[in-house]
Every structure is written in structure tokens, then in C-alpha cells.
Subunit: 519 residues, 2 copies
């Protein structure tokens, strides 16, 4: 960044002459109720579209019959299910898009982050990854390989919301300003830090700390010491702490924003013993029963929060948004049993893939009086859309950001007053090597345009074209049949990537960047 | 507060149209060094003007010879001593003025705060205290009996400073939004909460927690669990934690603001055994030797921070401000040995009093290249002046606040380029009953105007006039000799108090407010 850019960032906060003030509140700030809605964003980690008893497809699948998520069903009865809600294919890109409202192609945190200046890409023989933003995102300049942006949480906080972070953060690498949720506008931080995973779900294992209290890994969960040595599963510990924070929030007489960002259902697939036996009795393998127990433990947390809202008279004035950050893990045979890449059926592949299995998420929004109970929306949206939507939900109409906002508010979908998806393309870019192989995984980019989806592979220039409503499993590449559509979407994808200054892998053989999809 | 006022506060943060942004930082936020100075505000609790080996008077006193504060001497050699730096007479008014830049007469937190909706005033036979802001201060509206203001820390944070709170906060009552430093723009909070004191200095006593980890009082120090059961004095624990936070700050490549707000030297006078024996050998009583050990422990912390700056190459670019929040405790015979009210000699009285012993503080500022080493400033200033000064130090020239700012920057004093004290009056208002009796304590107000100081007692209308430079001990009331000055200052004091909507006690006999000083 140049000097001018640094200065313009620094100049953002102050807007008028010294010592200007709005009005003296005098001695009595009053205790009037602030009627703006509370907002809970319930974000699950690595949860696939089918990892629930709630059918997001047009028919019930075997996974819907296997998993038990009664509270997701309860939430769906109150609100709107989104059947085409998209994220990125892995965690960091999604969470950075969420926090900054920008597309991953623009923010360039296109693989997962952990340690400062240590890219996490697996080596590839053919391609070199570009200098992506492996230090993640930050609200302040000063760190290399970092995208700088204003978070919507900061804006909510500046507008009088009490802001609570609970669980997984994963915004910036260790020792960068983005690592700590407190640097993002969160007033409360429960157990969030740089890591995108966890060493252990188990209180008996001190969530990844030895008996002297020292972390055994960079993914040891911080801040839950009071549960160490107990049988409290981390999902439960986070829920109990979140509820304490809500009890406190209620006393503050402010609307609250709770980012309930579960570490579940990320590996390691520890067994949530409250639910494990039930799934074993269904005949599931150890790993798959553990996976199911993680899902139901997460679902219980959702129910506990809904119960709190009801008991505390806040249910009618609280928006709940349920979401996951990428598709279900399907590429790691160590963790998943059965044939790999099938665990998100009917979707193809899973986490890390630009096939639907990697990016399509179970999403629900409930908002009494605004969202029709038991409704369903089949229009598509993308994770960065949460940014302007949540600010609109909070009534924040004007705000300044350092970065441009790519997201589009989906409020018209919630109120059924319009369709912002119409005529809009969605874009993904993954010029990286995640670390697993599989269908649609690594070194590619994609565009969704109406019913069509084009995937372009940087390594060999291969293109695939799918009609998503007709072929949700992406089994039939129609690129040969529709060269005109391939050409049009390639052009749009190329134009978009260049416009947002996206990155491409480099061909090792030539040292040159791979071609754009329309080159 | 009326609806309009709430809305105007809420409208502060957003300033321009939706989605406006300054400039895209692109993918590389750079790692240029931000050359703005770091700022450490080293705030001691209840430290008197003479509780140091550094002579702030025009001669050395017995206290200067008794106490040992080599690091304050070291700091004074690098910077400027202020001999007439004022605060309020007790903690909450001072700290609320510091955080909001407003005079205590305006913010109305005129006694100490702790529990929500529980005023701490001792009952008086004659006077009723007004409905003061016993819930403290907050950045957001919604709580009764609370002054709402924007903190300079929030503004520093919004301008890219990394902000660290360490030690005593004492901004808002328990269960109000002001209780948590994270709600004030601090990104890091070490051991700060609603309480203005501490249950114990001792690691052996878990800083006031029982063996099960439960707090034994509302003043148990939070967040230092890792030192429990060790012999680490809380002053040392805070210092070690602050240094860890500075290590981290250095990695962030941001300028930092560290509010090093020691719990020392507030009661209970636990013995800091690193220094206690030395003072016993000087022949001091147990209490007085403990008091001295608290002072030297605090001084060691100052030295440790200065050492850190030197070792880390930050000494030349870091401003250190040393200050206390009110006068030394002299009114409690349980804690202080010898004749009470004399422990701030040559000043009269101590904490809680509007005599100099209650409000004059040891203050030092070092700033390489800006402040002349070993210099001394005899102009007066007041605690709320820190607000605009620190923002000016940080180069923040334009900022918005909810509240008017009463403080005046003392930058011209530091640079010896002007005298903002000239022609300026300072004001105090204490319409409360602190809890101890003594000279100049409770139910009074005062004005300092040039050499003169007028104190007005609400209960009986008594007025005292002192020439401070000639009578620093306030032993000679000159009100009879100078009725013209009394009249002029009474008028100025009355005008000021009415202008800022200050409060007065109520006469129980009549139910009417006490008279203004000029009535």
C-alpha cells in the first residue's frame, strides 16, 4: 500500500472538526428500550448441505434420515430455508468474505491461514501458488499479505450493538492484528483466536492443553479453563458461555449481535457422548457416528439459544441466521468412512471443491414479523451478502468502509419483495492447493450465472459447464454441447477476476501465470 | 435522554452514504512502519503528591526521603515534571473525566461507583445527595444514571492504535455497559472490571478468590488465574502481563496505547515483600512500611516498562505519562499511622478532600525530542485535559464525540510554546458524602483561578479562600481579607456549575437544594 492509501485509511474515522459533538446527553441517559432487533449468526464449521434431518433438496436423502437436528427443524418452521446459499469451499475465504463483505477473489485470502508468513499450501509439481493473503484480514494496515477491511461487526458496535464472539474466529494469522476478535469490533470474545480448527473437543483433554495448562498445539482452544478436567464437550462449553454473555447483554439494555461460531463439526471427530451411542445403534461406523454426534451437539446448542430467547422474552425481537462456512468434509479417508467424495450426496465432492458439495450450505433465517414462517427460498446468494444484509437488519443505512463491498443484501428475499439474485453472477476463485485431492478441488475458479455454472481449471485450461437445477450432482459436463455459453461465462469470469485484481497460479514450467479463463 | 438525543448518538458513527469507501488497499497492505508515537499512561491509584522520592515541591520533604522511587526519578530526568497537576479527590470522578474529557461537575459521576443502582454515599443527617450518576459512564445510551460519552481510547483505536488496558478500570457499575474496558475501545483487557479497588494483592490469596476459584468479594481481581497460588504480587503480575501485551503489540506493527492502571497503592495495604523489610528497617510501622512497599513495587513496574521500551527500540518513540487519580489516603486511621490528614504534607488532608492533599498529583511526561529532559512545569492542569492532549499526541486532529470536551490540551506546556493555563479557571464539584470525614472532605465545590482557590461548603455556605503559592498547606483562610475575590470567584464558580448543569446536595430540613456559591 502506498502512503496515500495509508493516510486515507487513517483519515476514515474522524469526519468533522475537532471537538464536535452531537448533543449533551446530560446526566440521565435514560433507560428507554432500544427496539432494534438482536441478531444471532449461528455459524457451523465444515457442515455439509445434507448434514441435517432438514431436507434442503427437493427430496429427503439418506443423510436427512440418518442425522437428527430437531432444532434446525424448529428454526425452519419459524423462518425461511435457503436452498441455494453459497460459501467458499474452505473456511478462511468464507470467514474473510463474511467479515469484510468482499469476494474471495478480491480479498485474496484464498486458502486457510494459521501462522504469520507461512502459507499453508501443499506443494504442487505443476503450479506455484501466487502470493496470496496468507496473513488473513485486518482492520488496520501494517502487515504484509493481509487484506485490510472494516468489519460489519465494528459498524454494529459503533452503532450501539453489544457484540459477542463465541467459538472459532480464524480471521488473521497468529501475531497479526486480525488474529483477535477484539480487534474486529467484538466486545466479548469467548474462545476465538487465529486457528481455524481445534486440538480437541474434550474437557477431559483440556481442549488441547496438557496437565500443566500448556497448549499442545496451535489449535488448542483458548479461554475455557473452567471446564478443564470435566466431561463438558466444547460445543456445550461454548453454549454455556454464550448464554452467560446473553444474560449479561440483557442487562446492558442494548441490542446484541452474537456470532455463535461453533468449532463443530470440524475434525478431529471426537465423540459427543451425549449422542454417540444413538448413532452407533443405527449401525454407523465409529467415525460416522462421531460425525453425527457432532452435528446433534451443535443442533442442541441452537436449541439452547432458542430456549434462552423464549425464556427471556427476546424470541420475537431476535433474528437467527443459520449457516455453514463450506461443504462437508468428504476428501479425507482417514476421517470419513465409505467411498470418499460422496458424503454430500446428491452434491458432488465436498470441502475444498467448487462442485456444489464444497460450497452449498444449509441456511435458515428466522425473523418474526418479517420472514414468513415455514417458507423456502430457492434463489442463490453468497457468503459476502451477509455483510450488507446484517447491517440492513440492524437499521444501519449509512456506513463507511475501507474496502468496496461486493455483497448484495438479501433482505428482498427475506421480505419476498424482490430478487437481487436475478441477473446476478456469483464468482469463486481458488488459485491454491488446499491439501487434499478430489473432484473440483484446487487451482480453479467458477461462475454461477442463472442455471449455469462454469468451472475453469488453471492447470490445463479445462472447462466444465453444468446446468445446476437439472444436474445438481454435476455429473454431466455440457461444455461441448454449449460452446456459446462456455464462451460467454468464460468472458464474464475473466472480466470479473481481472476487475477485482484476482490472482492466478503460476506455471512452474514457464514461470508465467496461468491463462485467464477467457484467454 | 429524549428520543432525538438517542438518535443523534446512534447517527454518529456512519457519516456518508452506504458502501462508501476510501480506496481499495489491494492485496498488499504493506508493512511500512507507522511512525506515530506509542503512548503509555501510567496511572497509579490513590498515590499522593509526596509518595515518592522525587520532590514535586520546592523542597525535599520527609516523605521524599522516606520513599524510594528510582524509576520516577529516571523518568523525570527524561521528561517534564508537573508540580500543579490536578485530579478529582476520589477515583471515579477522575477516571470518568479522563475517559470522557469532561469535568466531573458535568459528567456527574461525583462519588465512587460499584454496583448498579446502588449509590455508595454514606448517609448524612443534614444533606441528601442528589441523583448523581452512580452507574458511571458508558459509550452507549440505555442505562439510567449514566453519563454517555465517547472515550479517547475508542478514537485512538478507530485511528489505528492498538489499545491495551491493564489493571484498574472503574468506569461503570457492575452489569452496565461501562463496566468492561472492551466496551471503551480497548482491544486488550488485563484484569480490569467495574471495581475501583482490590480484595487482595497476593497471589497466595488468588487475588481474592477462594480455593475453588470463586471470588470472595466484588473487588476480587479478575483474569490473573495463572498467578494464583504463587507469591506474585498483583503489581508484578500486571506488569508481566502488560509486557506480554507489548511484545504482541510490537508484532502488530501498529502504534500502541497502554493504559497501565495499577491497583496499587489502594487499600488493603498488603505487604509487597520484595520491598517491605527495607522500610521496616527504616523504623516504619507495619502499615506505613507496607504503604512504602506498594509505592516501590509500583515504581519497579514503571522501570520494567521503561526497560522494555529500551530493549525493544521503542524508547525514543514512546510517550510516557505518569499520573495518579487522587490524593494519598490520609483519612482512615485503620490504615494510616500517625496523625491522620497529615500524610500528604506539606499539603493539607488527602483523598476525598478539595484541599490540595486530595487533588494535587505527581505527574511526569517524557517524550524524546519534544519534551525537554529534566524540565519542570509549574502551570496547572486538570485530569480531563489528558483527553485532548493524548489525541493531539497521536496526531488525531479531527474527531467526533457524543459529549462536549471540557479538557484543554496541555501540548503547549510540553513543547513550551504557550500557556493554556493562563486566564483559565479549574473547577471541582463534590455534592456527595464519600464516607470519611476530614478537612475539605464531602459536600463542597471549588475553583482555582490563578493563585487563588475558593472552596464552598454546601451544608452551611461557608467559603474559604487560599493563596496557593503562598500557602500550599491551606492553613490561612483569606476570605475575610479579600471579600472582592471571594465574590468574583463565587460568581465564576456558580456560573460554571449552572452552565454544565451540575448538581447540589439537598437540605433535608427543607427538601430544597443547597444554595449555589453565588446565591
Amino acid at each position: 500500500m502506498n502512503k496515500k492509501s495509508v493516510l486515507s485509511i487513517l483519515a476514515l474515522a474522524p469526519a468533522v472538526a475537532s471537538h464536535s459533538y452531537a448533543e449533551s446527553p446530560g446526566n440521565n441517559a435514560g433507560n428507554q428500550t432500544d427496539n432494534r432487533p438482536n441478531i444471532i449468526l449461528f455459524m457451523v464449521d465444515d457442515m455439509g448441505w445434507q448434514d441435517t434431518s432438514l431436507p434442503f433438496w427437493n427430496q429427503q436423502t439418506k443423510y436427512n434420515r440418518l442425522y437428527e437436528t430437531p432444532n434446525m427443524e424448529r428454526l425452519a418452521k419459524q423462518g425461511m430455508m435457503f436452498t441455494q446459499a453459497y460459501a467458499n469451499s474452505i473456511s478462511s475465504p468464507s470467514r474473510c468474505s463474511l467479515m469484510t463483505g468482499t469476494n474471495a477473489a478480491r480479498h485474496r485470502v484464498t486458502n486457510w491461514t494459521l501462522q504469520k508468513d507461512k502459507p499453508t499450501d501443499r506443494k504442487s509439481n505443476l503450479l506455484e501458488t501466487p502470493e496470496w493473503n496468507y496473513n488473513g484480514i485486518s482492520q488496520v494496515p501494517g502487515t504484509n499479505n493481509t487484506f485490510v477491511g472494516t468489519s460489519f461487526v465494528q459498524i454494529l458496535k459503533d452503532n450501539g450493538y453489544h457484540t459477542i464472539h463465541c467459538g472459532k474466529a480464524h480471521f488473521g494469522s497468529i501475531d497479526t492484528p486480525g488474529e483477535d476478535p477484539h480487534h474486529w469490533g467484538f466486545e466479548v470474545n469467548i474462545a476465538g483466536h487465529a486457528a481455524g480448527g481445534l486440538a480437541s473437543y474434550l474437557g477431559e483433554q483440556n481442549y488441547g492443553h496438557d496437565k500443566n495448562g500448556n497448549p499442545i498445539s496451535l489449535m488448542s482452544v483458548p479461554g475455557l479453563e473452567k471446564y478443564w478436567g470435566t466431561d463438558t464437550f466444547v460445543t456445550e462449553a461454548l453454549t454455556q458461555e454464550a448464554i452467560k454473555a446473553l444474560d449479561k447483554a440483557k442487562k446492558y439494555n442494548q441490542p446484541f449481535y452474537l456470532y455463535m461460531a461453533h468449532y463443530a463439526i470440524h475434525v478431529p471427530l471426537d465423540k459427543d457422548m451425549r449422542f454417540y451411542d444413538k448413532y452407533k445403534k443405527k449401525g454407523m461406523t465409529d467415525h460416522e457416528a462421531a460425525y453425527a454426534s457432532l452435528i446433534e451437539g451443535m443442533d442442541k446448542s441452537l436449541g439452547d439459544l432458542m430456549d434462552w430467547l423464549e425464556k427471556n422474552g427476546e424470541a420475537d425481537n431476535t433474528i437467527i441466521i443459520f449457516m455453514s462456512d463450506n461443504g462437508g468434509l468428504a476428501a479425507e479417508p482417514y476421517w470419513r468412512d465409505g467411498q470418499i467424495h460422496t458424503q454430500n450426496y446428491p452434491l458432488n465432492s465436498g470441502k475444498g471443491s467448487l462442485y456444489e458439495g464444497g460450497i452449498r450450505e444449509p441456511m435458515i433465517v428466522s425473523w418474526k414479523g418479517t420472514v414468513t414462517p415455514g417458507s423456502r427460498c430457492n434463489n442463490y446468494l453468497l457468503i459476502e451478502d451477509f455483510y450488507p444484509t446484517i447491517l440492513e437488519m440492524a437499521g444501519v443505512r449509512k456506513y463507511k468502509t475501507i474496502q468496496p463491498i461486493d455483497g448484495v443484501s438479501f433482505m428482498p428475499l427475506l421480505t419476498q419483495t424482490g430478487n437481487p439474485s436475478k441477473g446476478r453472477n456469483l464468482y469463486w476463485n481458488m488459485p491454491n492447493n488446499w491439501g487434499n485431492d478430489g473432484p473440483g478441488i484446487n487451482f480453479n475458479c467458477a461462475v454461477r450465472s442463472g442455471d449455469w455454472k462454469l468451472i475453469y481449471y488453471y492447470a490445463d485450461g479445462k472447462k466444465e459447464l453444468f446446468n445446476i437445477p437439472e444436474d445438481i450432482g454435476e455429473q454431466h459436463d455440457l461444455s461441448q454441447q454449449h460452446p456459446d455459453i462456455v464462451k460467454r461465462l468464460s468472458k464474464q469470469l475473466g472480466n470479473y477476476l481481472r476487475k477485482v485484481d484476482a490472482q492466478r497460479p503460476i506455471q512452474k514450467a514457464t514461470g508465467k501465470p496461468c491463462l485467464w479463463p477467457d484467454e
